[in-house]
Amino acid sequence: MALCRADDPLVMSALILTPGEWAIVGLSLQVSGCAMLAALPVAFALAWLLARVEFPGKVLVDALVHLPLVLPPVVVGWVLLMAFAPTGPLGALLERMLGITLLFRWTGAALAAAVMALPLMVRSIRLSIEAIDPRLEQAARTLGAGWLNSFATITLPLARPGVLAALVLGFARSLGEFGATITFVSNIPGQTATLPLAIYAALQVPGQETAVWRLALVSVVLSLGALVMSERLMAQARGAPRGAGGTAHDV
């Protein structure tokens, strides 16, 4: 029987990624990681605002936050392009103040991924903040904690399951981000060609079926990894005491 053996050099070489594939995976992780770093503080602030503060125009802010979830991604990418083009309002500002541009750069891909992941993250964090009893924060105040101190020692730790869920969800969403990215920063190998864009590029060229297969498998592995991690975090959150935002996964 000519079964494939794991130590067969041919099989091994098929399982090992080429440097070019590693570069694509590395870029994808870099873009998604930076998107999360940028989006988390914004998502938390928005979630807290929407969960706890009544202000005029709240409905509008809520709708704006959710817009990337319901708009065609290509529209989001186009809006970003308009805003961050060298002649656009934000693009011109960045160019003048810092001398940088996001256009056709991996930073732009990270921004697109962050914007697209934001609604999911805000929803997840908001649910966990809404599950925290504000009366616990009052109790902390009578125990000598100032507002910021009670926020840091009561609100933030109790919101942790929602924040972790938001990070995993957002990260997975960023890994798969396609429409807004390709519209905003195009498909440039080594700069903006993350996994989905690289797969799309390979699909345009005849005879690249193997490359597509390999990159698609890598995508599956990464997404499964994120899923497994989120399941673990959820199990941890469920193990935590009641009132700790256990509903955060109901996004």
Partner: protein, 207 residues
């Protein structure tokens, strides 16, 4: 006078007027439910801002709308035991007890950790989470947490409600010991006539 309270509060459509001056010991705040007893306690703790009036405890002005004084809750040195206890679910019993202690200035402390734990008989609970405690256990932890703040006065919001008769008697003893041992002035919200008869040095009726 230890407690001098004269405040007007509006909660929605309701208007609450509370006026009392009482001396040391335990002041029982009585009245039908909805009379605003808990709201008055919250105002004394600084969690609710009155519309007008004045709150003075043991010579310290905590609130005075005329003088524009409103001491924030974390600087009032008040030990509050809430009706719903509000123990922190993510912290152990020990960390709950230490929460206020760690934030209190050393010169204000009236009792140390080990003494409190011994006094309330909660040494066996320290490693547990509040969610696993029985009603009486949680009640004693909440009292301990309030004592460790080094309070200048205690506010107890129906501390004995929803406890069985034996536990109630036991906790009444605890409250008396707190009053006598630490000479702390206490405001106690209560519905139960037997509680008021046994514990109260002064009775204030709110209606």
């Amino acid at each position: 006078m230890t407690f001098e309270v004269a405040v007007t509060l509006r909660r929605g459509a309701r208007r609450i007027d509370a006026r009392f001056s009482t001396g040391a010991g335990i002041t029982a705040l009585c009245g039908p439910s909805g009379a605003g007893k808990s709201t008055v306690l919250a105002a004394m703790a600084g969690l609710v801002r009155p519309d007008s009036g004045r709150i003075v405890v043991a010579g310290t002005v905590l609130y005075d709308d005329g003088q524009r004084i409103c001491v924030p809750p974390h600087q009032r040195a008040c030990g509050m035991v809430f009706q719903d206890l509000r123990l922190f679910p993510h912290l152990t019993v020990a960390a709950n007890l230490r929460y206020g202690e760690a934030r209190a200035p050393a010169e204000r402390r009236i009792v140390d950790f080990d003494e409190t734990v011994h006094f309330l008989d909660i040494a066996g609970l320290l490693a547990r989470r509040p969610g696993t405690l029985s009603g009486g256990e949680a009640q004693r932890v909440a009292i301990g947490r309030a004592l460790l703040v080094g309070p200048r006065f205690l506010l107890l919001d129906e501390p004995l409600a929803s406890l069985d008769p034996v536990l109630r008697l036991g906790l009444m003893g605890v409250i008396e010991r707190v009053r006598d041992h630490f000479a702390l002035p206490i405001v106690l919200v209560s519905h139960a006539p037997d509680e008021v008869a046994r514990l109260a040095d002064h009775v204030v009726l709110l209606d």
